[in-house]
Structures are given as structure tokens and as C-alpha cells.
Assembly symmetry: C2
Homo-oligomer: 455 residues x 2
């Protein structure tokens, strides 16, 4: 049965299941400057692949250090993608355009359809597959609000790998939904701090009701991984391989725009660790760097966690607990406190090195929004397009709307695209606060740069 894809600029584009790309794109060899190496925090010498293999699956370490442009998607992962399902549609938001009275065309990549409601399985499935293929038995990770944890739990169930996830205690108690989701997929979820690690036991001895933090959960996950030969630590974002896996979205979007005979004038999306937005734009960034398109790229972050708009492009730890090597990236400092905004997935102090470099070089711009403006956009989208966006993805949506409003004033018929990286059905309490006028904006934090950085 042939299927050539369906495209209509008034409607959007849908690819055939057989049009799903068979390779991921790795931007590393195409970057205008080489990535700065990660440094050992004690010796300040570059860290090589060998030092990572005790913590991460081998193939992921290989991809992390690889300068190859394309990685083959293993057949098993490709089949798993199709059941998410992928390819996802690229949808024209015509009712939103009409509401805004804009001559611009707004498209969004509909990543909200995965079973866990976000784009996270794009890399979780690959990571679980490689861990299983290596003969490992246990995937260990941490999760805050639970987006990553639930994607990982689903992916481990698929490849019959055990999963143990340290979930920040206060998140597990306040937002139990995703904890239940992980457990339903069969994962073991430990509220962190836990009795399972030395780190956790020490903290619980001091305070049996310790609320936990993402930094503590990372420490526990790493300690647990290192204590077991057959365990590896699987990480949501920021690393080159996670970004490469997420390019499945951008590669699909590229085919979809081609089918419609359109080129996006502007592409925006939210940045937490950076894998969502990078995955969406990198195939287009490649074309721009080759001089083939003129697309403008705008990364959107919360004003409460302004890594790229108020932070510095410098070396910092990737985690609050100072376990990781030093990474060159945009950061507001690994010990800067993060206000409790509802977009939990954007509460990361740093950003992916390759994306940070592209922002530093001006290839990608960045902007920041307070959460009330973000939820205003989200509700507008719900009432026009019917879809409840995740608080995270609504950051990109906010910029798309602002750009469309500018087009109303200038008369420009720009083609605007944003990545709707998830739905908000497990974030409804945040919408409730907004609906009731109780949502508050947080002041940007006082930035505490790591001492090393001040030298």
C-alpha cells in the first residue's frame, strides 16, 4: 500500500509511517566552532569516553563523543517510535491565527500524542534499548515532576529492563500523577531522599521528613548506579546523544514543510535542558549554516530560570551536587535556587553545550517569559485549537503568538513554527491557579555563579 504523505498548507502535513526517518542527526560536526571539552573538576583536564562508561551505556558514550553526522536508528527503536505513534503531525493552527487576526501562518509539531504526553520517549526509548542490548539489567535515573521518569518507565517496560527512579519527595507527594504512571509501567519509584543510598540515609537521619531536591535525587541515582555492576544511569537531556535522538522531530518537520512547499521563517520552542528545542530545529540549523535557508531561531525560557538571557556562557557543573564534570554552557550557576514555576521541565540551571554555543554565536536567539504571560498564551491555544499545552511548551507558543501579532502590524505573511512538546493534562492544577487569577510571577533569581567561574 503506497502512501506518499498528505500535505495541505491550510491543514498541515502528515507523513506515512514508512516516512519515519531512519537516522538521527548529530549537529556536532556541523557546528561553526568545536565544542569545548568537558573537564574533570579536580584536574581541569578533558574527560574522555572511558571515564563515562561505568555510568552510561557504551553506545551512548560513543555517540556523545562522536563526530559522525548521522546515527542509524536501530530497527527496534524505529519500530517503537512508530507505536508512539510517530511520525507526529505538523498542524496548522488556523483558528489561533484567525483569533489573532494575523496574516502569518502558524504551524506546530504535535508531540503531545505520545502515551506519556511528551516528546521524552524519543530519547528514552533509544537509551533503554542500548542499555538492554549491552546486557544491562537496571536503568537508574531521577525525576522532578516526573516527565522524564514516566517516559523512561514506559521505555524500560518496552525493552524489559528494570527501572529505578528517584523522585524528589515533595514532587511525589504534591503531584502524585506521574509517580503512579511510572509504577503502572512497572518501575520502582523511590521518594528521595531514600533509605537506599548513603546520601539518602544521611539526610533522613538529620530530617526524617526531608523534602528532597533534584540535586539530591541525582546524587542518589549516581551512587546507586555505581554500586551495581549491571546498572547504568540514563539521562533526559543536555548530552549530545539525547539531542541527536530528539532530531527525529526536526527531520520529520523538514519533510513536512517540504511536502507543503514551505520554509519556516521562524522556529521557536522552550528550553529546559535543551533537547526538545534542539531536536526540533537542528536539521534546519544545518541548512541555515549551509546558507540554504534564512530561518530565524528563537529559544524560549522562563524569566525565573534565565540561563541564556541572564546567565553566562562558561564552565559549570551540570548538577547541583557537583558530581559531574565541568561543562561549557550557558548557566545561571548550579547553586542558584530555582523558583517553583509550574514548568518543572524548565527548572534547569544550565543548557545543552551545543545549543549554548549556537546562542553564544548568535545563530539562535533567546527570550524569556514570566509564567502568567505563558499561561495566557496556553489558554488562548486551548480555546482556539482545543489542545491544552504543557506549561513548558507554552513558552514557545507565547513567542509564536507574539510574532504573529507583530505580523498583524507589519502585514508580513511569515511562516511560524513551534514545537508543542507535550500536553498539560497532568498539569491542570497550574491552569486552575491561572483561571482563578492566583498564578504569580517570580522575580529572576539572584544568580550565584560557581566560584570556579569567577576566577
Amino acid at each position: 500500500m503506497t502512501f506518499k504523505g498528505y500535505a495541505d498548507p491550510d491543514y498541515g502535513a502528515v507523513l506515512s509511517p514508512d516516512d519515519l526517518p531512519k537516522k538521527w542527526y548529530n549537529i556536532v560536526p556541523d557546528l561553526p566552532e568545536p565544542l569545548a571539552p568537558m573537564l574533570d573538576s579536580h584536574t581541569l583536564k578533558p574527560v574522555g569516553p572511558k571515564q563515562f562508561e561505568r555510568l552510561f551505556p557504551k553506545e551512548l558514550v560513543r555517540q556523545q563523543f562522536s563526530k559522525e553526522r548521522w546515527f542509524d536508528i536501530p530497527q527496534e527503536v524505529w519500530e517503537a517510535y512508530r507505536t508512539l505513534p510517530r511520525p507526529t503531525p505538523l498542524v496548522r493552527a488556523r483558528r489561533l491565527e484567525k483569533f489573532l487576526g494575523t496574516p502569518a501562518k502558524i504551524f506546530y509539531k504535535a508531540e503531545q500524542f505520545s502515551p506519556v504526553g511528551s516528546m521524552k520517549p524519543n530519547t528514552a526509548l533509544a537509551q533503554a534499548y542500548y542499555a538492554k542490548k549491552q546486557g544491562l539489567e537496571l536503568a537508574v535515573s531521577e525525576t522532578g515532576a516526573g516527565q522524564w521518569g514516566s517516559a523512561l518507565a514506559m521505555s524500560c517496560a518496552r525493552f524489559q529492563l528494570k527501572a529505578r527512579i528517584y523522585m524528589v519527595r515533595v514532587s511525589a507527594q504534591q503531584k502524585p500523577g506521574r509517580k503512579i504512571l511510572m509504577e503502572t509501567y512497572g518501575a520502582e519509584v523511590l521518594e528521595s531522599p531514600s533509605e537506599n543510598t548513603e546520601t539518602g540515609r544521611k539526610l533522613l537521619a538529620e530530617n526524617p521528613n526531608h523534602p528532597g531536591s533534584l540535586g539530591i535525587a541525582i546524587s542518589e541515582a549516581i551512587e546507586d548506579t555505581l554500586a551495581q555492576q549491571e546498572a547504568r544511569y540514563l539521562l533526559a537531556s543536555a548530552f549530545n546523544y539525547a539531542l541527536a535522538h530528539q532530531t527525529i522531530m526536526g527531520l520529520e518537520a523538514q519533510k513536512q514543510f517540504e511536502l507543503m512547499d514551505l520554509v519556516p521563517d521562524m522556529m521557536c520552542g522552550c528550553i529546559g535542558g535543551g533537547s526538545n528545542y534542539s531536536g526540533f530545529i537542528y536539521p534546519f540549523v544545518r541548512e541555515k549554516l549551509r546558507g540554504r535557508i534564512e530561518t530565524e531561531f528563537v529559544a524560549c525560557e522562563p524569566t525565573a530560570v534565565p540561563s541564556t538571557t541572564r546567565g553566562r556562557f562558561t564552565y559549570d557543573y551540570a548538577d547541583a551536587a557537583e558530581h559531574t564534570p565541568l561543562v561549557k554552557m550557558y548557566s545561571i550557576g548550579h547553586s542558584t535556587p530555582n523558583p517553583p514555576i509550574h514548568a518543572g521541565g524548565l527548572r534547569f540551571h544550565g543548557k545543552a553545550p551545543s545549543l549554548s554555543l549556537l546562542i553564544h554565536l548568535g545563530v539562535v536567539k533567546s527570550v524569556a517569559f514570566p509564567q502568567t504571560k505563558v499561561f495566557e498564551a496556553a489558554k488562548m491555544f486551548a480555546q482556539t485549537e482545543g489542545v491544552i499545552p504543557a506549561p513548558e511548551s507554552a513558552h514557545g507558543l507565547r513567542y509564536a503568538i507574539d510574532e504573529a501579532i507583530r505580523c498583524r502590524k507589519t502585514g508580513e505573511k511569515k511562516v511560524i513554527a513551534f514545537n508543542n512538546c507535550g500536553h498539560g493534562l497532568l498539569d491542570l492544577s497550574a491552569y486552575d491557579e491561572y483561571n482563578k487569577g492566583k498564578l504569580v510571577d517570580w522575580e529572576p533569581p539572584e544568580i550565584q555563579l560557581f566560584e570556579y567561574l569567577r576566577k
Copy 2:
């Protein structure tokens, strides 16, 4: 751009957006016996269309009494369907098959992708459209757990119709998610009993903390509708037109099976009011009644609300408050209490008249399951296929699994299909109870048949 649909018996089938059917199927003219008329409960005389027009939009009343086989889908509704998006995939559950070790092929219609997570918008969009087209201003309805209310709120936002929804107070307080969803779409949600109607005020005077019930919410919605010239009452299920609108699912499934060159040997699904399952099977029932296929049909209900397995095929009120005409259907009696099972959408005492007749005539069989067996199936599906089914749709899944297990024993390579009419992401507390071994089964209720029925 041509698109002929994609089909692969190992994977499933996906239709092009342009393959979306343009007509709904109305089974009424094809039923083996005429439907018994609805009767006025005072005069016991048949009720005609005129008596419904004050309560329901005219076009819906016309469809309710129509003997036409096909209803044109208005262009605006057809376009709205495409954005849900429709057509939805028909997916092969290969990992579930493998887990069960069955030679059977299991397919499911993936209705969980709509923005509200269920198939309810298939009729909500049509009803909101007809109300708006008639020049009405307000849609009024009631909702228990909120599946119907959220679909209606979304649909009213789309067609710029005001929506007022009476939500059972205890549901609104215990499961706030869908209430927030409705409000985010811009609907007015009143906890019932409310101060807005005489019925509500009377009950609140007796007990200011009255928990409410679906019967009370219906009474309030009807009273409110009748008090306002420009308001109409929009109803989720059971009526012929709601079933017809839902056949969009079965019509798509028919094309999808044809593309794969397969005929389902058995089709199952859950029944609450009956619109979900009827919408899935009626196009196939037509073929069976014409002698063209041999498909077996099995409707699945909870043992706690055993309308068709322990109830009677007779006249009863369609609501607990005795506002409606008498309807000939399977019922456990409109005053029989409903145990608080988690599949809130299946807590209806009666079943759609056409489906009831088909069960009565043996064209469709029915079975009942206790909820622990249903959640066992749901969790098996989550861990193999990755998808968290709604507690309602897991009733159909349970039967599909049991049939697949029988095939393992007999060696039959049956083609099994069930309708996954929604996801369970807003029902996670039920999964939590199941995961923790706390889920209980309810005894079948003591059936209290309406006095009229005993004559």
C-alpha cells in the same frame, strides 16, 4: 498530494486526512425490528419530535426520529474532526499478543488521541455545531466524572457557544482535573446542587453540603434549559443521533480493515450509554445483518452496573429524576444505586435503545467484568503497548485479552478488535489503588425495577 492510506497487517492502518468519511451511519432503518417508540410517562402515548424541540436542537431531533441511513457530516464538523485529529489509527497490539503467546491478531482503534482524551468529541462537536447554527447561545448539560463535560466545553469553545455544565459536587471536589479542563476551555461549571435552579436551592436549603448526584445534575440542567429561550440541552449518549455521530469510528475502522484485507472475527468494547461501542460496531453490524460478514460482537459492562447481563429489556426512565419519557431498553432500573466504580462513564442504569434491541435479538452478546479484572488487563496493556487505557475502555480490552487467551488454547488465528475509547491519564488515582492492592470489587446492586415495569 495524494495519499492512499497506509496499511500493514503487522502494524495496523492509518488513513489519509482526506479519507475521513463524509457521512454518519444511522442504523435505525437497518434494524431487524423497528425501535419501540418513546412513551410519555403520564399518557403512555408515543412522544413525537415536536415535544423534544424545546429541549434539544432541531437538527438533532430530526436525526433522532429519522429513518435515513446516512446523515451528511457538515463541512465545519468534518474540519473539526480532522483537528482532533481524525482519522485515528487502527493499531496492531503485537507486543500484547506476544506477551499472551496467542496466535490471534489484536487490533485497537486509538481514540485516546483527542485533546480531552476520549471519543466524546465525535458527537459533542456535532451537537455544538447544530446548536450554534440554529442561532442558540447556550449549551447546558451535566457531567459526572467530567468526560462528557470536557468534550462539550471544548466543542462549544470551537463553535463559540457558551457552555454551562452542572457537575456533581462530590465528583468536582474529589476529581478536580476535568473541572479545571472545562473551565480552561471557557465553560461555566456549577457544582450541583447549585443556587442556580429551584431544584438546587431546595436541596441546599435542606443540606448546604449536599454531595449531589447525576440525577440531580440532570434535573438542574433541564430546568435551566427550559428557563431560557436561547438554551438547549446537549446529551452525551443513548440517543440515536449520538450513536450515529460516533459511527465515524466504525466507518474509519471498516476502511482500515479493508486496506489490510482483513475482516474482524470479533469486535468488543465497553458500554455505558452505548454510543462508544455502537459507534465502533454499527457499520460492521450492518454488513453482518446483510449476510456479508460473520463478525461476532461482544459488549462489555461492569458487574457493578449489569444493565444487559442482569437487567431487563423493558420500558424505563432514562434518568433517575424521572424527567424523561419512557424508553424501551435494557435497564437495571433508574432508581437502582450505582456502586462507585472507577469507570464513571459506565455508571448508567440503561443502555441505548438500538443497542439494547440488538442484544435482545442476539445480534450482539454481552458480558460483565469486576473492576479488579479490568485493571489487571489495563496494566498488562500499559506494560506491553505503553498506553494507559481509560478504566472504561479497559472493559473491552479485558474481553479481547480473554478471547486471545482462548485462541492460545484452540490455536485459532482470530482477528480481534476493541475500541480504546480513551486514555486513563486523568484516572491515575484508580491505577494507584490497583497498584497498591487496594482496589475492591462491588457486589452487583440489588435491582430495583421501576414500578411501571412490574405491571
